[in-house]
């Protein structure tokens, strides 16, 4: 029975390691954050309080946090779907841009009744993201071009192409700055309803929650979800097991692109109410970081998105109230992702080995 006991040991260890992973990362990040704040001649306590106030201190603050949590959740779950299955869709940014532009067009060009119009915008945005994701997917399948390269480069294409199209829609070359390259405002019928007055916390929240729930259920209960997970975990094994890996690859890519497109759409009809060229402040990359921290789990994405959003809104308040720059928070977020990515299991095993060695020496 000895091997069984040792097995138990190892399993318990892996759970412990995962808890330790988050605890250590958090402590290390807080420590570095503290040093940074002190180095900037600010009071860490005040900075933290202002951050908290900025994120949750008032109805308005909570509204702002929810406003940011919506795109974080959507782009995070979009990244999770791809990364969990080993598809490195780094093109979330690009898919999001095409989703946003398409939603804006559907929003201002077409007349529809209120709810239908919103849904039409969201669906059109998703579809645009999906179609834009189809390009790297096909390039990979038919020409064996790595999706990391194609999606990365297609991001630039998307950002500039949407800007160009917007310029043309405006009817000319009149714009003088990028922020003035915009589509007309969408019709009132297409706008998402705010759930907290005076903020951009809209009904998009329910949409984001629903999508996370759907993805969660997909993995837990459906055969497609099972196959998506297994393909990501071990492709040759899944192929030998009769999974059509090419089909799965396309499905995963398209689902990921669809959700990224929806994210773009909610930004347009929920926040800006029009498409603004180069509007996204690296939202796509936030998605990659969020899913990394969440270890590709849908529930994890939900939690991390709110934390991410709280950081975003809290940092602005912190900047207003202290001498600190809000990019301090970005730095700390990135550090946190780095700490999370450390192979703690390996370190733990080394430590165990060392302890075992010492124990034997003592015995002798």
């Amino acid at each position: 029975m000895k091997p069984l006991n040792s097995l138990k040991h190892f399993l318990a260890d892996s759970t412990k390691i995962n808890v330790a992973r988050y605890v250590i990362s958090l402590i290390a990040t807080l420590l570095i954050g503290y040093l940074l704040i002190v180095a900037n001649n600010a009071n860490a306590g005040v900075a933290l309080r202002e951050m908290f106030k900025g994120a949750f201190g008032s109805k308005l603050a909570i509204g702002n946090t929810i406003h940011w949590a919506i795109p974080c959740m959507l782009v995070g779950i979009s990244a999770a779907v791809a990364f969990k299955s080993g598809v490195f869709n780094l093109g979330l940014e690009g898919q999001l841009y095409f989703g946003a532009l398409t939603a804006a067009c559907v929003g201002y060009m077409i007349e529809l009744p209120p709810v239908v119009h919103q849904l039409a915008c969201i669906f059109a945005g998703g579809l645009a993201g999906l179609l834009y994701a189809l390009i790297p997917a096909l390039l990979k399948l038919y020409f064996k071009i790595d999706e990391v390269i194609t999606t990365l480069l297609l991001n630039y294409v998307a950002v500039l192409a949407t800007e160009y199209i917007t310029l043309k829609l405006m009817g000319g070359n009149s714009a003088t700055s990028q922020t003035s390259i915009v589509t007309p405002f969408v019709n009132k019928t297409a706008e998402l309803t705010p759930i907290i007055k005076g903020t951009s916390a809209t009904t998009g929240l329910f949409l984001a929650l629903a999508i996370i729930l759907i993805v969660y259920l997909l993995y837990k209960y459906t055969l497609v979800g099972y196959e998506m997970k297994m393909v990501g975990s071990n492709l040759p094994f899944s192929r030998a097991g009769g999974v059509d890996s090419n089909k799965m690859f396309i499905i995963i890519f398209l689902v990921s692109g669809f959700i990224a497109g929806i994210c773009g759409a909610t930004e347009v009809i929920g926040v800006n109410h029009r498409f603004i060229a180069q509007f996204s402040a690296n939202l796509g990359w936030d998605g990659v970081m969020i899913t990394r921290v969440a270890a590709n789990s849908p529930v994890g994405v939900l939690l991390v998105s709110f934390i991410w959003a709280a950081f975003k809104t809290g940092a602005m308040q912190m900047e207003r109230a202290t001498t600190l720059n809000r990019y301090t928070m970005n730095l700390l977020q990135a550090l946190f992702v780095l700490f999370i990515s450390i192979d703690y299991g390996m370190l733990y095993r080394k430590y165990k080995d060392k302890k075992a060695r010492e124990a034997i020496k003592k015995e002798e």
């Binding site: 069984l4 097995l7 138990k8 260890d13 055969l223 497609v224 997970k229 899944s238 009769g242 034997i360």
Partner: protein, 518 residues
Amino acid sequence: MSENISNQSEYVLETRDICKFYGPLKANDHISLKVKRNTIHAIVGENGAGKSTLMGILTDTVKPDYGDIILNGEKVVFRNPMDACRHGIGMIYQEFMLAPNFSVFENIIVGFEETKGAFVDYKKSREKVEKICKDYNFNLPLDEVINELPVAMLQQIEIVKVLYRGADLIIMDEPTSTLTPQGIEGLFQAMRVLKAAGKTILFITHKLQEVFEVSDEITVLRLGKYVGTYDPKDLNQQKLANLMVGREVILQANKQPGEPGEPVLSVRNLSVYDQDNIQRLKNVSFDIHAGEILGIAGVAGSGQQYLSKTIFGLSKAAEGSKIEYLGKDITGNTPRENRADHIGYVPQDRMVMGCDVKTSIWENTIMGYHRAHGFKTRWLVDHKDANQFTEKVVDDFAVKVQSINSNVGSLSGGNIQKLIVGREFSQDNKLLLIEDPTRGIDVGAIEYIWGKLLEFASQGAAVLLVSHELNEVMELSDRIMVMYNGELYDGGKYGEFDESQLGLLMTGGVAQKYETIE
């Protein structure tokens, strides 16, 4: 190393209380052994007995937790693998450590080049290599590129490489696993030549027959512990097997050849080209009948892999090939279609293609079953059904698991293999394509899987058994075919041909290439 050590102590190597623990697992538990100078010393043990860990410690690829290594009477502590090498310990790994795109000569001298200032002195290095080849009677094509040479030749290159590095003690890890019977005989001759020249050889194996053929002393390890060192004259195969596993083991399958039924699989003119457009199978034709095990023997890389892969749909058959299964043309069908048609597949590479170590046991077990047999609905995973099926496989095949929700990675190699084989056997498959079902697992698990395989065939299924273990093919197959260079040769019925006859076929019936040592 230099000559002045040859008159030193009787033992070239001694280990004292070597310990290596991986967490709670004791890979080496106070191992103390002595190796006599100028002998061939076999180290035997089941998988997981601690052989590889011990060798890793001797070559410093694994750091011991405790214990001393005494080399030529002196305690040594290695700083790194190169250091172990400088102390005269040379290792020949099971998987050859050669750079495929470089020449034989370059592979031999790499890391230990003779130098002239900052430059490599090719002339001097070459002279040294040539002298070694001459002294030990190796005939190597020094300027040829590695990837064009046969396996037996690669092994000779490895031997010359460790001699070039000044090895006095040569460790060989399962050196015979990739060789034909003739190649093995050649290797044994080489070992004897090395011994005659004053070298000491540590020979790791779990093939008992070989142990008796060459070794002067046998050390047995079991579950990380040292069992003892024996003189081969005092033992026989049965006794040695008992020492290894601590119980009686029958190494024969006791097959009862049956009457084959209707043909299940008919392969006609099957040709396969790999991604580099090299022809791997050349117009292969054969039938397998119900209740029959067709064994495919052959040296690694003769094309056997492509046979099962192509039938299963993982490789593409060339134009003109025809694969017929129960009267239906299945050429070009996908693995999913084949699984739905009750064709099972056990791939050779169990850790990559056979299972996924990062997910749970039940998720691994329902792979294949989930579509081919399916659950109540087409779209959802029926967790009740999945659990029942997994429990059945685990029970029927005596897989030791803690919970079916544990990761497959937490199981031992033998248990993983039982799980994989069990998964395919439990799906009422009518045809099973199975590659190396017992490679690298312990005697107990081999016995179990062999028994199950024979039972499976006796119930009327057809089995294509591709194995690199000739003994396995001979013990289990109703009919044997030998694959050589992409072509199939008749290897007779069960018990018709003996090992050396088959070995000759495995090398194309031509004289051995491994013939340089007289």
